[in-house]
Symmetry: D2
Subunit: 215 residues, 4 copies
């Protein structure tokens, strides 16, 4: 994956990428210093986020050009709608939180609607990738570094083998989609726009963490 299509994207977003993957919110999850209220607030917003993120992956199914692309995107819709969102529903039910009445924050809305407003599959994937790859990178690092923390479940979800496999598959999907529409990563006139999109989505991730710290 290192020299695949994610390489020029990650390079273009480098400073924001570090701000995203090493955000104080993340460090607070790692060392357990994140207040419970902030975590539950984040979880509720993340639930609304996942609704629209699932819609974006479903949109990817409609933009796919091969059955293999369709199946890869549809598998992600399933993973989000059935597996990941059930996790949030479970934790929030335990905490007595009703997820149906959550008021979507502007920072949340900005991110998902930006991603949804896309051209072809590649353009859409450039907006979807930061969340997938970033959570994968954050999870993997935290699994290595984290000590005692009440947020170990969260860390094991994103650092665990299943989500790491999801990231690898998303990277492979991006590589194949790039090969089909552009050719070798980094060639052709579309990269500045794709990099801008990936970098903007990364900045929107930073804004999402910022919002998480303001319940």
């Amino acid at each position: 994956m290192m020299y695949g299509a994610t390489f020029p994207l990650l390079r273009a977003a480098a400073p924001d990428w570090h701000a995203f993957t090493h955000h104080p919110f993340v460090e607070g999850l790692k060392d357990g210093s994140l207040p419970r209220a902030a975590f539950l607030h984040y979880l509720q917003q993340d639930y609304v986020f996942l609704i629209h993120f699932s819609r974006a992956w479903a949109l990817a199914v409609t933009k796919a050009e091969t059955v293999a692309e369709m199946r890869a995107c549809a598998a992600t819709v399933h993973a989000l709608l059935v597996e990941e969102m059930r996790l949030h529903e479970g934790i929030c039910a335990e905490a007595g939180i009703d997820l149906t009445g959550v008021e979507e924050r502007i920072e949340n809305l900005a991110y998902t609607r930006y991603v949804l407003d896309s051209g072809d599959l590649l353009d859409l994937l450039a907006g979807l990738m930061p969340c997938v790859l970033g959570y994968g990178e954050i999870g993997a690092r935290m699994l290595r570094e984290a000590g005692e923390t009440p947020y170990r479940d969260w860390i094991e979800t994103y650092g665990g083998a299943e989500f790491q496999q999801t990231c690898a598959e998303a990277g492979a999907l991006l590589d194949a989609a790039t090969a089909r529409r552009i050719g070798p990563p980094g060639t052709g006139p579309r990269w500045p726009a794709l990099c801008h999109r990936f970098a903007t989505a990364t900045r929107l991730e930073v804004g999402f963490w910022d919002m998480g710290l303001r319940p």
Copy 2:
């Protein structure tokens, strides 16, 4: 379901509905008189149809307004892309047919692109329903009526409990989507347009069977 949202739709499409569900192609499947070449031709076109029909159900996920609606539509995407299309892939592989090079017929293209070009979820469902409900009705009748026929597998797929359950769920989805957006079925100013859409999709089903008889 009898007095649900499907009732005004089916009533509006009545003459075309009979032409669709009792088409010579269908009767040929039932009594086994359909030539094998016509069946394999149909199956290849149907495979391309299912690609775009899956895209339309994925589009429904993006147009859904509740998590329940999203999950119902995403389950159908999964059923089509993974289960139903694998069936076609299996039969065609056995017959030595390569599904990647199938040239999509105009009658096929007309149907799915018409369905995809839709307003809200209800508008989209009005275009999706004839195929789901019609195949369910055809399958159930044929299971009762069919004698010896080489197409028993096809009949059991659509007449069987699993697909009949799919039809019931699709009807329930339509009812709930109607209640949420319009109120009681048949009330409000949108029914003429919804009925027109359902009737047009039904006529496009008739055109699809016609095309099936012309390999």
Copy 3:
């Protein structure tokens, strides 16, 4: 228009509506106290806003169901792309500002992508209306109240007869679109969602003015 479809929408957004139409940014335009740098910053962001707002009105053409609806929406696309944006281009050219390199702010992006992500025409119009009606209301009030101010051109643009006519036509389009899809304003199950959408777009207008004060 008072008892038309805008009535339930405006009522639902009342507190935010006042914050939008009487924002410090607006008052600064009126009495001339708004710093020139803030105005030029706003104008550049507004130019990017108008690009995506034009896209949203073009999307409305694709969602229209009658030729009259199509023509009304297309006329707005033309007014925005040709007339309103030329105004920005003129002022910015004079000020030596290159509009091609403007970095879109998050508050800007949030608004237009939220509006673009819509169901049927009515849903889309509920997101488009606050900007149209609000600027009309602001312009009309300022034309009555404003004294000496360097921003008189801006005030005369939105308070002038032509833009006021645009607002009246947008209100008539909304009324007709409502009659066609729902019936009498305020009836049927869709109003809570439409009101929520109108209120959210109004809050995003407030956020846009806030951003305008932070060059």
Copy 4:
């Protein structure tokens, strides 16, 4: 334009292109042998076609990535909705035909919905171009070749300077859109799909003329 982006597209569609631009319907317009009933039937279907074709050009505004692209596409929406459709409305009003109740034929529906179901702007333009360029080519040839015919108005519309200018601008738009997204025409992996799309739209044009001969 000869060696622009239209060159590989036209080459790929060559046999169908001739069938489209030299169709019996066209020859009947040229020598005046086309029955009046067929012409009026065609005109009514063409009116419905133009509704959806305008929607497709409006969709192009939403997919545009530069203000220049937006303005070019919006100008076409205006030309279709205001100028070209008024022509049909005028002729049909004179002939006592009510355009609101026209039943859209399958061959008509197939074409426009196929074009509307598109990826990025380039993909959409590949579906839109055959109609624009083909009518331009037909009109120019007929203006040279036609003798006495009752359909001289039609010929002068599409052979006239204004429509020929529209064709030149559409070609320039395609060239610029190609340069921005792919690079030199004919390079990169997307051409087979773009050519297939252009060729399919050309075949759908042939089907439209065929339908025109069957009132």
